[in-house]
Symmetry: C2
């Protein structure tokens, strides 16, 4: 890095000129961000719940204590759960009749913010109230609510959510655990008949849980009615397993070690008929099965759908973790200096290096996009669960959005935390600077509550289904019309695709305006077109499947699996882009709006740059325009750079929540001390002169 | 994932046809891999040292014990270092006169394999013998060797390598620590005059080290002669700091917690004149400075260059970590089943899913490429350090190769271990399955021994320098000639660029052969052309720099920084590709060679796919050819998939080194048990029938 100037080649042949690119935004303008007002916008609809949760998360007794043994960390977190109860922080979503708040959005918002305290505390509370308790609430009926919820809410009965098995995680419909109805005694008999059917990876199961909601194949009168949930006590007051029940500790994990994950197995365990959580399926005394939902498939998906809040809240807390990581790395990068590039004595602030900007600022843009998308997602969730907008279609849309956004935000969090770690160098590796700890705890975010790849495949299937419904009886010409028609729907409605306003096929040639790159319509068209075309292409390739046998059809589908998952990802990216664009209208003032618009452009063009090969291969962008995309991104980086610290400050996490020494101002102090040291000695003439360089190298 | 076949749209408009792509390899051939013979090839030139080190790594007492406290892990690792001494495993590189082996290649090979035991043990031994000891060996002279090396070799004196400071990591030339010569007492006075000048992140420094090699600005007669190394005792026999010396513990880290990293500071610490490690610079009794290397810049780089072995060995052990991660994930993916796609009852093995192949097999190909490149690199290192080929040019080439390969392999290891973790789902998160532990320990690999981004920038500058030397006095026409001339050199010679054999500008139109995709020349031309063109383009853009002031020139350079780093990465990728291609000639038999050739193609076309936008924008590939690249990769995946397990078995790591329960065969047993359970009940007619599906969904 030394001697950059003198190593620059001096007489090289003419190189291709850089593409001509417009300057982002009004020339000469130097906008300012209203950090506080932007912070309020970012807090969203449930600001109060978020602020209350942050206040709690800022208390030392609620925070992760690093370096504890697994056993001690587990004890500490269990104690913290009791504090949550004492502070009344966990009952927001439960029925008012039981002392709850029936506030679904606020409940999730408050929960999400707990990630800043300790992800183990957060996820363990999620197991207790968001999975175990929520299963009783949503899959049970009044009798179960009265009988079980009070003790769950008060933590008197800690519980496990016994769905996943060692042998079946993604494919829950195929779990091996059975619940066979015995009309003689009017009981269900729960069994895990082979090792693969053991319940596994269950939070609370290794130590604390005295009960569990167990998912099992409901068998009565010789018929398997598919997976249902049962309330099952598992331990006695001494913490010993009840008869027929056993288990194992999952032991140490890559993170989240404050949670006692474990395995459970059941042999002939009998529970009363009435402990079937019977909202979506019931068994009469004589063993007759009834359900309000006729189709077993739809019933299963409806039951799982009531638990979508796990995906909602992971999406939101992944965004918060990204914000914390970037707040640390950008604060540090704005103070840390290394190498003298443009001055004989003063070292450069590392955020002024182009590469460092390229590493951090696009991730900042994505974090903003994911945050705005999450807010839309959370409102949609609240609408459905409050009953404001709760049709079947609403629920299906909500699940599709969940399946699209959770993978993107959780992968983004891991990627961002890793880049933040690396951008802080050796300091980033010290636990005192928080990033590695946060990343380790978030690692499993991409797997639990639905493996990211499996979720994206669900999204792709939904997109294919919608597509095929539209064209089930249409001819080939319908595709072209589909692509060019402006749909009435908005993003987050239906599959969330806002169709393009002009003929996509002509797009490359018609979009000739000078400020083409600055038009949001350009980004929308490019992003939307890609999703639609990818789905249409895959649909076309899958067309012969209907004439094939099961095996051949499966092989054909498998040959398109990767492209379909990429299409689903593109769909999720479009949702994020639309949410960001909509949020610009809520910006508190023009200056803030200008900077956010650059940031949205950085996000949008970042996506286009990432998929540039697709746009080129499919004739959507000419090579010349494609080159302008990267050059425009470089311009945006220099425009956004002066606002980078404001943009992370607006996240609203103070030192009590950031808790990283390098982001505390210590680095700036160190730099000042060193600068003063050299300046004083230079002034006094006591600085040794450097040995004369012969420049022979 | 359920119901894939029935959800496939049935009547969609015609989609674009898949591009026509040749079948990889001879039709109908079903090659076999000779796993044992391939394993021998992979062991490379220092097979014996590797096998001895693996044997040691397989002993339980040498292996990482998970769940230890930081304090206990440190103690265990220090004990393991003593075992290494007892087993005679650490003296290979030291002088024969002192009981060493003077075997540089074998020393590195043995060291690399220790990563399988415990990365903390490995890196701590690297600090002791590869940094502290090697600095005395390479920067000191005979007197220092005799006086200090025996106690270093025996671990009687554990030591720290005190180069990095809190304020300066990447820019070592600017460290703040001073060593001022005092002719009165014939001593150097060592000072860390401000907080940023404290030595930091030093292995051994927090507890064990009783001495250190300290890097400081050598000042004599009022002149600063730049950074030199000094041997400095730091603790007494009781473990207390000597007068003038203090320190801090860096505390818990994101990984490698068996190493006691810490900080050291010095105030007026006096060492005898003769404890300057004086191979490249000395101070006479009267304070007169002399050096065999006139240029201070070249002297500094020469001194640092003697420590290149750190980068060599990280490159090699990153490859080993990737191998272990893939061995776990691929073994598991070949046994684990989830979802019935093509059968009513049998679930699919997850490695048969296209997406899973896309996640793991390209990373397997890159791991092979990185392994072969490392072997070439290690031989080059041995040639230089044994004196077989030790010119200035050889050393510079070695450093450029190190700076190109270490970033690629260490990033690849983190990426591969993460994907392996995710590919194993929840099981991958359990510490008993090893992957998270390995990834946490390797996190800092991308930062230490040279931050990856900084190293790649060094590579870019070397490429620019070579380029500008060629064209210093040439006209524009020289560029075209440069690009089209076939160079006599081989990869790893000079900058490692093997120039292309035909006119690049005409490439897109001239390469018309039907089997174009199967020709290695295609890959070589595309990969080489990209490096050359990127460097030429950047050089052209930097051309005005010579007429600019320091600040403006630095700004211009900064505007090209990202592209330059990407060019350096492309250069490293080309080195890997060339090494893989050369290694095909050493394949033990035709079957093995065939599979390895597919794997090399997967690596090569994977690189081209990753950079497809560049090839399209620069007119090197037509859109049609570009589409064929991805389609060809899909074909290669299905060809390679049956050999995936053989390819990881050939790495030669048995269960005693893999140490992951899920890769032990437990999964296959579980699958068999479940299958038997259902088959028996199906045969006996006792399996409950599924509720009749209405297919309404």
């Amino acid at each position: 890095m030394v001697d950059t100037a003198e190593r620059v080649p001096s007489a090289t042949p003419a190189a291709p000129a850089a593409p001509s690119v417009p300057e982002p935004g009004p020339a000469g303008a130097s906008p300012r961000i209203d950090v506080e007002a932007l912070g309020r916008q970012l807090l969203g609809a449930w600001a109060e719940a978020r602020l209350a949760s942050r206040e709690l998360s800022a208390r030392p007794e609620m925070q992760k204590q690093e370096g504890l043994s697994v056993a001690d960390h587990r004890k500490r977190v269990f104690g913290q759960l009791k504090l949550l109860v004492e502070h009344g922080q966990v009952h927001r979503a439960f029925p008012k009749s039981l002392g709850g708040g029936e506030d679904n959005g606020g409940n999730i918002a408050a929960f999400e913010e707990l990630v800043a305290a300790d992800p183990s505390l957060q996820i363990k509370s999620g197991v207790q109230w968001g999975l175990f308790g929520a299963a009783v609430l949503h899959l049970g009926t009044e009798q179960h609510h009265k009988k079980y919820l009070p003790a769950i809410m008060s933590l008197e009965v800690p519980g496990a959510f016994a769905m996943t098995e060692t042998g079946h995680g993604s494919d829950v419909a195929s779990v091996g655990t059975t619940a066979t109805y015995d009309p003689e005694t009017q009981e269900f008999v729960i069994d895990t008949p082979f090792r693969g059917a053991w319940k596994d990876y269950l939070g609370n199961a290794a130590i604390d849980a005295t009960a569990a909601v167990v998912f099992a194949q409901l068998i009565t009168k010789g018929v398997n009615h598919g997976v249902h949930a049962f309330y099952v006590p598992i331990r006695d007051a001494n913490g010993d397993f009840l008869p027929g029940i056993g288990g194992e500790d999952d032991g140490q994990k890559g993170g989240l070690n404050g949670i006692d994950n474990g395995r459970l197995h059941f042999t002939g365990v009998r529970v009363p008929r009435t402990d079937l959580l019977n909202r979506y399926g019931d068994v009469a005394e004589d063993g007759t099965y009834t359900s309000p939902i006729e189709s077993p498939g739809r019933r299963f998906f409806t039951m799982l759908g009531t638990l979508v809040q796990g995906r909602v809240s992971l999406d939101g807390s992944a965004v918060i973790a990204s914000r914390i990581g970037l707040a640390i790395a950008i604060t540090y990068a704005d103070q840390r200096r290394q190498f003298t590039a443009g001055s004989p004595t003063d070292e450069e602030v590392i955020l002024d290096y182009q590469r460092h900007q390229r590493r951090l600022l696009p991730r900042l843009a994505t974090t903003y996009a994911a945050g705005f998308a999450h807010e839309v997602f959370l409102r949609k969730f609240d609408d459905v669960f409050s009953g404001k907008a709760d049709t079947d279609a609403d629920r299906q849309d909500l699940e599709t959005i969940a399946a699209a956004l959770k993978p993107l935000s959780t992968w983004h969090a891991l990627d961002t935390l890793q880049e933040a770690r690396e951008a802080c160098g050796g300091a980033g590796f010290l636990t005192e600077n928080r990033i590695t700890s946060l990343r380790q705890d978030l690692d499993i975010w991409v797997t639990f509550e639905g493996d990211n790849n499996v979720l994206l495949q669900l999204v792709a299937k939904r997109l294919l289904t919608d597509y095929s419904r539209k064209f089930a009886k249409a001819d080939a010409g319908a595709l072209a019309r589909y692509v060019v028609t402006q749909a009435a729907g908005k993003a987050y409605h239906g599959t969330g695709l806002r169709s393009v306003a002009q003929t996509v096929r002509d797009f490359g040639s018609t979009a000739r305006s000078v400020n083409w790159l600055q038009e949001p319509a350009t980004q929308r068209e490019l992003l939307t077109d890609r999703v639609e075309t990818m789905i249409a292409t895959a649909a076309g390739r899958l067309r012969p499947a209907s004439k094939l046998g099961k095996k051949a059809a499966a092989d054909l589908f498998n040959s398109q699996q990767n492209d379909l998952i990429e299409a689903a990802r593109a769909h999720g990216e479009l949702l994020q882009w639309e949410a960001f664009t909509d949020a610009l209208e809520q910006a508190p003032d023009e200056g803030t709006k200008q900077v956010l618009t650059w940031l949205r452009d950085l996000f949008g063009f970042g996506l286009i740059e990432k998929h540039l090969a697709w746009y080129l291969m499919n004739g959507r962008l000419s090579p010349q325009r494609a080159q302008a995309v990267s050059a425009y991104i470089d311009r945006l980086l220099t425009r956004i750079r002066p606002h980078a610290v404001d943009l992370v400050d607006a996240f609203g996490y103070g030192p009590e929540l950031i808790r990283a020494k390098i982001a505390s101002g210590a680095e700036a102090e160190r730099q000042a001390e060193a600068r003063d040291y050299y300046a004083e000695r230079r002034a006094a003439g006591t600085l040794p002169t450097p040995e004369k360089s012969h420049k022979s190298r």
